[in-house]
Symmetry: C2
DNA sequence: CAAGATTGACTCTTCAATCTTG
DNA sequence: CAAGATTGAAGAGTCAATCTTG
């Protein structure tokens, strides 16, 4: 096998385990979640995420803010909201801020109901398939690590030059 | 806010941090990776994954095995291989096992070259954006946790009833 | 001209149906 | 009939272009 282990060209065994475990479990977990939400609650995972974020922000949010929070493009948020609007779970309004360009998505009572019906299932899946597998003691460390990685990636995608000297990642678009 | 914290209906703060950090960082990392591979090496992330797995298995693998390893549907593997075959990075052959139904994807020299050209960049991105962020001490724990979650999810998707009594996840398809 | 949002064209991915072999 | 693989249609997601407002 053409391997350059230790020369920095390839990932070390631990790095590889972390990466593949991370990637695979993320894909499978989203798969299970998407299937369950679609079959039992007629919601795509994106639609559920939109409802959750809206509920967590007083039921009203700007399209762009929504896009940043669920890590999606603006176009996707528009399409998702359109679908939710067709089913009267959500409604679009001109932004309260007075900025004529802004649009806010507003959570409707039917959307709240849909969320109430599916939230327990959603939480149970995350718990049984993710957090319970890690265990109480290690969970906080895991959460810290994941948040730290996410935070760094957010900065990276905003194009911010990294303060950290051992971070030559600015090159990767 | 309609919250039922502690009643088991919603996720606890730590659980929520673990889940959102996990989900968001996975999405962003795959995004960075996909963009870089596409721009610099004319490869989609899936195509890269196929090349890596083939190389790691002696350059020859069954379509179904490939699908399981990269967590994708059989149809996607077929289409990805077709694309790679069009560029002569890979070639399909009837399976050596003698089973007339089987098809094996074989890594060609051009595929090996493409992998050699992009592997260092790929590793550097994973390192600077994921594993270095977690740090040497915590990395092993993180890798263990991720692998454990992935392993459990694989069993779950195979429909295996979980030996663990606190695992009522069998209901979620 | 920049920012917020939307649209349309295109790619990626999945699902159901099909074909072939065991 | 089951398993491996492929095909075609449809959904989800992204990008580039457009429109409107600041």
């Amino acid at each position: 096998v053409s391997d350059f282990l230790g020369t920095g060209r390839h990932l070390s065994p631990v790095e590889l385990r972390a990466w593949t475990g991370f990637l695979d479990s993320g894909r499978m977990l989203e798969h299970v979640l998407a299937n369950h939400l679609a079959e039992e609650h007629q919601l795509s995972h994106r639609e559920y995420e939109v409802l959750v974020r809206l509920d967590g922000n007083g039921g009203r949010m700007r399209m762009t803010t929504l896009a940043q929070q669920i890590v999606a493009s603006g176009a996707l948020v528009t399409q998702t909201i359109v679908r939710l609007e067709d089913r009267s779970l959500v409604q679009r309004e001109p932004a309260q801020s007075g900025d004529g360009r802004g649009v806010e998505a507003v959570l409707l009572s039917k959307g709240r109901e849909a969320l109430a019906e599916s939230a327990a299932d959603h939480a149970a899946i995350i718990r049984t398939l993710l957090t319970d597998r890690i265990g109480g003691a290690r969970l906080a460390d895991f959460a810290d690590a994941a948040q730290s990685v996410a935070e760094h990636l957010r900065a990276h995608r905003r194009g911010e030059s990294c303060e950290d000297p051992d971070c030559p990642a600015a090159r990767y678009g």
